[in-house]
Symmetry: C2
């Protein structure tokens, strides 16, 4: 067991294990976005740092079928961060909050060695929550968008080259339009943050299901993390409806497997870099 | 304006400026507790780190007159943190959560250079919230407990000596018993985290009031941060009730000033170390 899994195992709670915790009509989610773990300062502009910190957190709300409403921010600022950089990070956060109708209601700021943003999102459930543990036997497993670009771009960055500011690694394109409309036909979902190889076991183990691949995926597709595409499952009887909504919202979806009885295990490790 | 104040000024919101944000019947608060900013690893045992991370956050809920119910944790773990240390930090968190009836419902763990714990507390308002901006003209200003020990102990630590594990710097003694009972007679409150010199302007400026000292406080009392005692104001007509509750809950309170028309300003900087 790695340290992160061990730390989580120290806290036993029926709420843990999903992208967010459902309490009444609210969903609470929290993700850290830290320099050195999720990005290097040379990879993202200050605006993009603020923007991505929010988007990876909003992603958690979307896959639970909840509408993000409020945010609390914890902001760790290195001494050498200029006032202009602070303003730009804040702008990235505020612009993204505005796009999604989120109000920043509180937070904390401290000095530290590296940039760190801790975001808590408070979301409202207007319809039923979607969990990871809902995969049914015979369900199709699918994902939105294209997988692989994030890993490819990460490798480019690690080799010291630049990537396009349109890269999903810089700015994930969240699939809320598709997901909110199709959620009533979806049995289970999570966002792809660590890569399919790491995320598939999470949804399958939570649901106590195995898997039969019906489409071969490339290593690049399987390993690419920080995609913030949606991994989801649905009954074959809802396939037409799901595909119609995908078409209507111009969302590419790839059905790649069927859920089976049994269990699934890989030794894949989650990666950031 | 220092960087922390500047970062906060980037986010204008009617919710900001209190220890927690009130939304409906809930209060949301978030504080960071990070190695290098709030503590050195040699100063606190892993258990004490987890314990203090929770207590400084629970303090925010108490001074808003809200009961902490749920917590989300963001845990930054250095590579050299052992499994035993992780378990001990978790134990400090869990024990404190149990003492206060808090359920941990979610979080995130990442690797980093130093230990960092970001805590979000979701609290329920059973009665009226107490804010910082409620100080009335003529109100008494008071604080709970003794101030000064935390700064004294911090200086001892900075000089390389050890301090007692009973120190308030190690384990703040929260005054929930007194505050929940007396809140209906209290006009404004906040916890003393940065020191009276820094915290007084916050409550007075929020309330647009000045101050007339009726008791001389020592520099030690004025400068000592991380006390997590409560700074509060109340009408002279409630003095007897407040003093009765203080006696009943064995809480020392010190009335040290009266709120006046006007405004109050210091150049004091907030300190951790």
């Amino acid at each position: 067991m790695d340290k992160e899994a061990f730390a989580i195992s120290c806290f036993k709670s029926p709420f843990l294990g999903d992208d967010g915790a459902v309490v009444g009509d609210f969903v609470y989610s929290k993700d850290l976005f830290f320099e050195g773990t999720h990005f290097k300062k040379s990879w993202l502009t200050p605006f993009q740092i603020g923007q991505k910190a929010m988007l990876v957190n909003i992603s958690d709300a979307i896959v639970m079928n909840a509408k993000p409403k409020f945010a609390l921010l914890g902001f760790v600022m290195p001494k050498n961060l200029s006032q202009n950089e602070i303003a730009q990070i804040s702008l990235g956060i505020k612009k993204t909050c505005k796009d999604y109708g989120i109000q920043v209601i509180g937070g904390d700021t401290i000095k530290g060695d590296k940039i760190g943003i801790s975001v808590t999102i408070i979301s409202r459930l207007e319809k039923k929550a979607v969990f990871r543990n809902g995969v049914k036997n015979g369900d199709f497993l699918a994902f939105t968008g294209h997988l692989g670009q994030s890993l490819k771009n990460l490798k480019t960055l690690l080799n010291g080259y630049e990537i396009s500011s349109n890269s999903r690694f810089v700015k994930p394109i969240l699939k809320g339009d598709f997901f909110y409309k199709s959620a009533k036909f979806i049995n289970a979902a999570m966002d792809i943050s660590d890569g399919l190889n790491s995320d598939l076991p999470k949804i399958l183990n939570a649901s106590k299901k195995g898997i039969k691949f019906i489409k071969k995926l490339s290593q690049n597709e399987l390993k690419s993390g920080e995609e913030y595409e949606i991994l989801f499952s649905f009954s074959p009887k809802n396939r037409t409806k799901i595909e119609q909504i995908a078409k209507k919202t111009r969302t590419k979806i790839t059905i790649f497997a069927k859920a089976t009885k049994g269990h699934y295990k890989t030794n894949a490790k989650s990666h950031h870099f």
